[in-house]
């Protein structure tokens, strides 16, 4: 079987889907954050894959680089929020994050 | 200076608003004095408009600057016989209304002054704007200060009234905006560039069904403002809640913008659409006349009574406009001015008694003529003007409108019938106004609270005297006003009818309409002149044709 661009894209789409499902289904804030990381990673894969098929410059890889940086920042802040949330509610269950309601 | 007169008129109140904005709020005396003085200045400046050459239908004191070339938005203003007296009415009534509320507004005086100045500027702008974009801006700008005036200095239920006023007006004007944008897009499609200018857009020829919809959108906005039955319910609330000055401006000027809008925009832009809906509008006007009168009769609150009487009176104005006969329209314009003067005066008078008694309930009064003879006299005079007694201003307008409707060729067989029912409004006006007079002034003085009331003060007299004088001046010598309207009204009526003939191909109607149109300058009857269109646009792509043929949805 010849591996083509389409396969990378399909794989990336699937991982994205798994991440999305994880984010939607799981109620553990930590796991939800990890799901977000999954989705970001899948996007990275897409960028890198496209870049491989247009290697005149490094745009795709550069973007993936930036995404990694943003993901790191996001993880840092996200986890800080999780900690703060846990301190407030003594739980990491996202359903309890409902202070905005009403 | 004279070529910038209109800009000066619109700009002076705006400039004064800025000055007031930077005045310390403790200097109440200065703020009040400056506001009234600048309004008076505007009035005297506006007298310069009388110098115009109104023997022709062309716009006087025109001014035109391109604002946004890409979208054809211009600052283009001018007055003609139709708007002249309304502009003067605005500059005349605003200082009176402001001066009248000299003492009864003591909170947030600075903001009150700024609101009135902004309002005046916006009203004047709306009356002189000849560009739809400009008009729309002024039209909406008008709304804001008025809502503030009602909502801040109003009565107990002021917020309800202000929100109601705002929502009603907004619904209409948003639809109007959509129609304006469609119109401009259509202009672009036909000529290749944008324009918001009235004179340009008037040249557009649109299919009748499109005209009907566009007209309906415009008409809704204006009909709410007029207000026509059944869109009038915001008016009693707004009037009752608004402070005296606000009521006066609302009745005297703001409502006129609705009727003026029909004359200036809705009808010239969409004659065929307007003609299709004309009889229905006239019918609503007649219903409004009678219905407003009956509603007024039952009101216990004097302001509400006067508000409903406005519905009735503006029904007359709309009937006059939709008679599309020259005297009907002249009468309608005159009646707009008349209504501004008499109803403005009535609201001022109600304000006088409200200031003394803090109530407007008819049941609280009775026998006031005994303690306030001068007040009663002026009230009766204004009442008679409102009732349309000959020799007061109300009569001439109503007479011309009724004659216009009766002899209208556009209303067809409905004309005399409408005139018949509208004339019953004359009876009803006497019934409800005299009912109010009877309960307020005649009879024994039963309520002890009324015993010590003082008669008109000098300030109140000063405000009311010019109105009374005008009531008789217009009543006895209406030609002073009518003379300047004639050319514009004639052109309006002729243009409207001519475009209708060109536009409405229904042969049954053509016979009738041709009578009203005097062909000249090689424009024969019917559509012969359309052989050579003034502007032609070739659509280059065959594909476009293919799409059009398919109905626009390939």
């Amino acid at each position: 079987m010849q591996i083509e661009l389409g396969h990378f894209l399909a794989l990336s789409a699937t991982i994205f889907g798994i991440g999305a499902i994880g984010f939607l289904v799981r109620r553990n804030v930590l796991v939800q954050l990890m799901s977000i990381e999954l989705m970001l990673n899948s996007v990275n894969l897409t960028f890198v894959a496209f870049n491989r098929y247009a290697p005149q410059n490094h745009l795709g890889q550069l973007f993936a680089f930036f995404v990694i940086a943003v993901a790191a920042a996001e993880a840092a802040v996200g986890l800080a929020i999780v900690l703060s949330f846990f301190r407030l509610r003594k739980t990491v269950h996202s359903d309890r994050a409902d202070t905005l309601k009403n | 200076m004279s070529q910038h007169l209109l800009s000066l008129l619109c700009g002076l109140p705006l400039l004064s608003a800025f000055v007031v904005l930077f005045a310390p709020r403790q200097m109440v005396g200065f703020i009040r004095g400056f506001t009234v003085l600048s309004m008076l200045g505007t009035f005297f400046l506006s007298l310069g408009l009388l110098d115009g050459h109104y023997a022709t239908a062309a716009f006087q004191f025109p001014e035109r600057h391109v604002l946004v070339p890409t979208y054809g938005i211009t600052y283009s203003v001018g007055v003609d016989g139709i708007s002249l007296w309304l502009v003067l009415l605005t500059t005349f009534m605003t200082p009176l209304a402001t001066y009248a509320s000299w003492t009864n507004v003591s909170t947030k005086v600075k903001e009150y002054a700024i609101s009135f100045l902004l309002l005046e500027s916006a009203m004047l702008g709306a009356f002189v704007a000849l560009d739809l974009f400009l008009f729309y801006v002024f039209w909406e700008l008008m709304l804001v200060p008025m809502v503030l005036i009602i909502g801040i200095w109003g009565g107990v239920q002021r917020i309800y009234a202000a929100v109601k006023f705002f929502l009603f007006t907004m619904v209409g004007s948003v639809l109007m905006l959509v129609a304006i944008l469609y119109l401009v897009a259509q202009y672009k499609a036909q000529t290749g560039h944008y324009s918001f200018e009235l004179a340009e857009l008037k040249l557009l020829l649109l299919p009748v069904h499109v005209q009907v919809w566009l007209f309906a959108a415009f008409a809704l906005a204006f009909a709410i403002k007029v207000p026509m039955f059944p869109l009038h319910t915001w008016l009693p609330d707004a009037h009752v809640q608004a402070p005296t000055g606000g009521s006066v401006i609302l009745a005297a000027v703001l409502l006129k913008l609705g009727t003026y809008g029909f004359l200036r925009f809705a009808m010239p832009l969409f004659p065929s659409g307007s003609h299709r809906l004309g009889s229905s509008i006239a019918l609503l006007a007649v219903i409004g006349i009678i219905y407003g009168a009956y509603c007024a009769w039952r009101q216990e609150d004097v302001k509400k009574l006067v508000a409903y009487s406005s519905v009735s009176h503006l029904g007359f104005v709309m009937l006059g406009i939709y008679s599309v006969s020259q005297h009907g329209i002249s009468g309608a314009i005159l009646q707009m001015v008349n209504h501004g003067i008499s109803t403005g005066a009535l609201f001022l008078l109600v304000g006088v008694i409200y200031e003394r008694r803090h109530t407007r309930e008819l049941g609280e009064f009775g026998g006031l003529a005994k303690v306030m003879p001068a007040y009663a006299t002026i009230f009766v005079i204004v009442t008679m003007s409102s009732v349309g007694l000959p020799a007061t201003n109300g009569f001439v307008g109503e007479f011309m409108i009724l004659a216009g409707a009766f002899m209208s060729e556009h209303l067809g067989k409905n004309g005399p019938i409408f005139a018949f029912f509208a004339a019953t409004g004359v009876i009803l006006a006497a019934v409800y106004m005299l009912h109010a007079v009877l309960r307020m002034f005649w009879g024994p003085l039963t309520n002890p609270e009324n015993e010590g009331l003082s008669d008109l003060t000098r300030r109140e007299g000063l405000v009311l005297a010019p109105l009374v004088l005008l009531i008789f001046y217009i009543g006895l010598y209406p030609n002073g006003l009518l003379r300047d309207m004639n050319a514009s009204v004639e052109a309006f009526s002729r243009e409207y009818t001519a475009k209708l003939i060109a536009g409405d191909r229904n042969p049954d109607r053509r016979d009738m309409l041709e009578k009203a149109w005097v062909p000249s300058d090689g424009l024969g009857a019917g559509g012969a002149q359309l052989e050579q269109p003034a502007r032609e646009v070739q659509l280059a792509r065959a594909g476009v044709v293919a799409r059009t043929l398919e109905g626009g949805t390939p």
């Binding site: - | 040249l203 009748v208 009038h232 219905y291 067989k413 009738m512 300058d521 594909g543």
Partner: protein, 886 residues
């Protein structure tokens, strides 16, 4: 003042009282009483003097014109143009113009003369009134309005006075406004008058539409010269194609009926008379002014003024005559039983006005107008006499005759003048009323051809009038005997009439004669009641009067036998003597019969006492219904209109916001779910196959196609639309094709152009033999050359193009106009213009594009392609409208 005044002074007649009113109204409150009544009396006196001078001039003119021609002798003065109605080049000017002719001359004299006397009388009667200046201001205004009414040259100007007197009656009846009943009576008068005014406005319009003028002179001339125009059925709209037609009702009938409605309001006839008896609420001089000199006579005046028009409307005349007769009877019957002096006089006025209307209704305009003139004297005298009586006994407004009596001794002047007036109104021979009443009866007797459609009408009216005249004589003398004869019965007991300033000191005194300001006018009027008739009357007939008025009135040929005047006179005398004698028997002798009659018919008596309960009837019917309507409208507005517009809308918004707020529940996962659903929908749309073809400009028959790209799409094309795809699935969206002639089908493109359409093109594919259907509307008004033949052109397809049979239509082939009935053929690529519609024959294909996505889903779409292309144009502007600057 010399005898040769310019007719400019006509304006002064009106202006003097007007200025008097203005001065008293503005400054009277501060000025002294002397100044006030000086201004008031002097202004009317000036008016009277000028009127006299003008009248003298008029007599001269009249004599002159009689000698020369049939020309109408008038004095006129045009002050300025009030306003004008102009439309489409036609202008109806309405000037402020005053005209004095024979008719208005007499009226002017009556108004100013009797008005002057009433003014003088009032200085005595109202001497204690606190609002002295206000009273005289109103009185002057009243006089001025009435003068405008009679001197105005056109209907609208007359209408100024017409409504002016309505206003003044409102103000004067409600003069003592602190009494709510009085104020209500004033309002009633105004509203009743307004109902009439409504009729006047519409009648005015109808006349203006037909006659093309508002001027009385023009209307009358038109009525005499173009009678058929007025006697044709009401048809409004352009000549030839009217849009509102009332068959059977003539213009004259409709207009005069509307005007008559106005007259019933102003002149207190059925059904609008109800305000007049209530108008007694005003001060007595005002009653005299309203009943005698002004206001109520204006209805008769209007009919006489427009008599040529009324003469053309026999049906209206019948209505007028009948209304008059019925009102005369109604007023008289009510007058029989009333006990209040002023009430009796009021109903006698209603009744007498009925006589006048009956007269003019029967075509006896001169007789009716004569009665206006004589009635003015004796009725003014009666009212002022009644005022004098009330003044004497300290009553105010409601002196009951049962408590009076024997006043003959105390107040001789009042007594004598009252007696004279009673004789006059009863029609006693030799007194002024005799002549006029006689003529009225004669008029009713000799209606000639006027009521040819109802011959019974004349005699019926005559009978009713005779009955009315008898009753008049009876109740007037009942009043006289009870008031002045016998012994004084103590007078009314009034403890509280603080609203009338002068009564108190007299309340418990014996009656006494009034001061000179009051008795002198009484004497003059009494003299007038006797002598007024003689001025105009020859021996036993009033020929001079008729001659005098002839130029101003319509002439109806009254054919009566030589005996008719004697029959009329006989009946008149009988009525007078029977009435007087019965009253004498019943009330002077103190018979028991009245009481017995009252006991015998208690219900009839109470019905008459309650004035036929007409007020009550109106109260429950019209007024009740109106109040109900008002109540209903106010409620409807509050709950239904406002409810529908604001409540329903706001509830709807509430419901929507309730639904949408369910989504904003603050839980992340529900937001996530919604977002997922949205993403899915978007993806579905993106992934689904969308064929969106486009094409470049064709070069001849070669066309380049392209399709919009999509996610993992493949494309294939069917260029000629035969159902088979011409290309294989390809990832390339672009394609091109060179069409062969054989692939094209023939089609016709019709472009309907014109102002109303903008532009709309319509593609029709016609198989050979098929016909293109067009309507008149499609072709526009320019399609026909010959208007006689309106069959539409036929457009039929054949094997090579279309065949056009114009059927008289104007067809341009290229740039040449084709003759009207020659068939022509359009081949592929050619075009023609029929009327305003453009017609081209073109080739048509329907290419088809199919698109497939990664899941193998397919979407296809065909579209129309017109080859060779048709040029289309858009009309952007009508070629200017003449005379309008853009």
């Amino acid at each position: 003042m010399n005898g040769d005044l310019d007719s400019k002074w006509l304006f002064a007649i009106v202006l003097f009282p007007l200025v008097g009113a203005l001065v008293n109204g503005l400054f009277g409150r501060k000025a002294g009483r002397g100044a006030v009544h000086f201004v008031a009396v002097a202004s009317v006196a000036m008016a009277f003097v000028i009127a006299l001078v003008m009248f003298k001039k008029l007599i001269g003119l009249h004599a002159h014109s009689l000698g020369n021609s049939e020309e109408h002798a008038v004095l006129s003065f045009n002050a300025y143009e009030w306003f004008s109605l102009s439309n489409g080049g036609q202008t109806l000017s309405i000037p402020v113009k005053f005209v004095m002719d024979e008719l208005s001359g007499v009226m002017t004299l009556v108004i100013t003369g009797i008005g002057l006397l009433i003014h003088i009388y009032s200085t005595g009667y109202m001497s204690e009134e606190p609002s002295y200046a206000r009273f005289f201001a109103y009185l002057n205004l009243f006089t001025a309005s009435m003068l405008i009414l009679v001197l105005g040259s056109s209907l609208p100007l007359m209408f100024v006075g017409w409504e002016g007197v309505g206003l003044c009656s409102y103000l004067l009846i409600g003069f003592w406004f602190e009494n709510e009943a009085y104020a209500k009576a004033g309002r009633k008068a105004f509203v009743a008058n307004r109902i009439g005014d409504f009729g006047v406005i519409l009648g005015m319009f109808l006349l203006a539409v037909v006659c093309g003028s508002f001027e009385f002179a023009d209307i009358n001339r038109f009525a005499m010269e173009h009678a058929p125009a007025l006697t044709s059925a009401v048809a409004l709209g352009p000549k030839g194609t009217p849009f509102l037609v009332f068959p059977g009702i003539t213009f004259a009938t409709a207009a005069t009926l509307f005007l008559f409605l106005g007259c019933t309001g102003k002149s207190a006839q059925l059904p609008l008379y109800v305000w007049l008896p209530d108008a007694m609420a005003g001060p007595t001089p005002v009653s005299a002014l309203i009943h005698a000199a002004t206001m109520v006579t204006s209805g008769i005046y209007l009919i006489c003024r427009l008599s040529p028009v009324f003469a053309l409307a026999p049906h209206t005349m019948a209505v007028i005559a009948l209304t008059g007769a019925v009102t005369a009877l109604l007023g008289a019957t009510v007058g029989l039983v009333q006990n209040d002096i002023k009430k009796i006089l009021a109903y006698s006025t209603v009744s007498q006005l009925g006589f006048m209307f009956a007269a003019v209704g029967c075509g006896a305009f001169a007789a009716g107008f004569m009665h206006v003139y004589t009635h003015a004297f004796f009725k003014a005298c009666l009212f002022l006499g009644a005022g004098s009586v009330m003044h004497a006994v300290g009553a105010h407004g409601d002196a009951d005759i049962r408590t009076l009596g024997g006043l003959r001794k105390y107040m001789p002047t009042t007594h004598w003048t009252f007696l004279v007036s009673c004789l006059a109104i009863a029609g006693f021979p030799g007194f002024s009323g005799f002549f006029s009443k006689d003529e009225i009866l004669l008029g009713a007797l000799s209606t000639g051809q006027l009521f040819s459609f109802a011959p019974w009408l004349g005699p019926t009216i005559f009978g009713m009038l005779f009955l009315g005249a008898t009753m008049t004589a009876f109740y007037m003398f009942r009043l006289y005997f009870l008031t002045f004869c016998g012994e004084y019965r103590g007078g009314p007991h009034h403890d509280d009439h603080d609203d009338h300033g002068h009564g108190d000191e007299h309340a418990h005194h014996d009656p006494h004669e009034s001061p000179a300001q009051m008795t002198v006018p009484l004497a003059i009027l009494g003299f007038g009641a006797i002598a007024a008739g003689y001025v105009w009357v020859g021996i036993a007939h009033f020929e001079p009067w008729v001659k005098w008025l002839a130029p101003a009135l319509a002439e109806l040929k009254e054919e009566h036998g030589a005996t008719a005047p004697f029959i009329a006179m006989g009946f008149g005398l009988t009525a007078c003597f029977v009435g007087i004698f019965t009253a004498y028997a019943f009330y002077f002798k103190g018979s028991e019969t009245p009481a017995k009659l009252q006991a015998a018919f208690p219900r009839l008596h109470s019905l008459l006492m309650d004035k036929w309960r007409v007020d009550e009837l109106y109260e429950v019917t019209i007024l009740g219904f109106s109040r109900f309507l008002a109540w209903f409208a106010a409620g409807f507005d509050k709950y239904v209109v406002d409810g529908l517009i604001t409540e329903v809308t706001s509830q709807l918004v509430m419901v929507c916001s309730f639904i949408t707020t369910r989504f904003q529940n603050g839980l992340i996962h529900s937001y996530g779910a919604i977002m997922a659903a949205g993403t899915l929908a978007l993806t579905f749309y993106v992934v689904a196959p969308h064929p969106r073809p486009s094409m470049a400009d064709p070069e001849g028959l070669k066309v380049k196609f392209d399709a919009e790209h999509g996610l993992a799409y493949t494309y294939r094309w069917d260029f000629d639309g035969d159902g088979k795809f011409d290309t294989e699935w390809s990832e390339d969206a672009a394609a091109q094709h060179q069409y062969a002639d054989a692939e094209l089908k023939r089609g016709v493109v019709a472009v309907f152009e014109g102002a109303a359409y903008g532009r709309s093109a319509e593609l029709s594919e016609l198989k050979p033999g098929e016909r293109l259907h067009v309507s008149k509307r499609d072709l526009g008004p320019a399609w026909q050359v010959d208007a006689k033949d309106d069959s539409l052109p036929s457009i039929v397809a054949d094997a090579t193009g279309v065949l056009i049979q114009p059927n008289g239509a104007r067809v341009m082939l290229g740039t040449t106009l084709q003759p009207g009935n020659v068939k022509m053929h359009l081949a592929l690529g050619e075009h023609a213009t029929i009327g305003d519609a453009r017609l081209s024959v073109t080739g048509v294909v329907h290419p088809r594009l199919s698109v497939r996505n990664a899941f193998g889903q397919e979407g296809a779409r065909s579209f129309d392609l017109v080859l060779p292309k048709v040029e289309s144009r858009i009309v952007a502007a009508v070629a200017g409208v003449p005379g309008v600057a853009p």
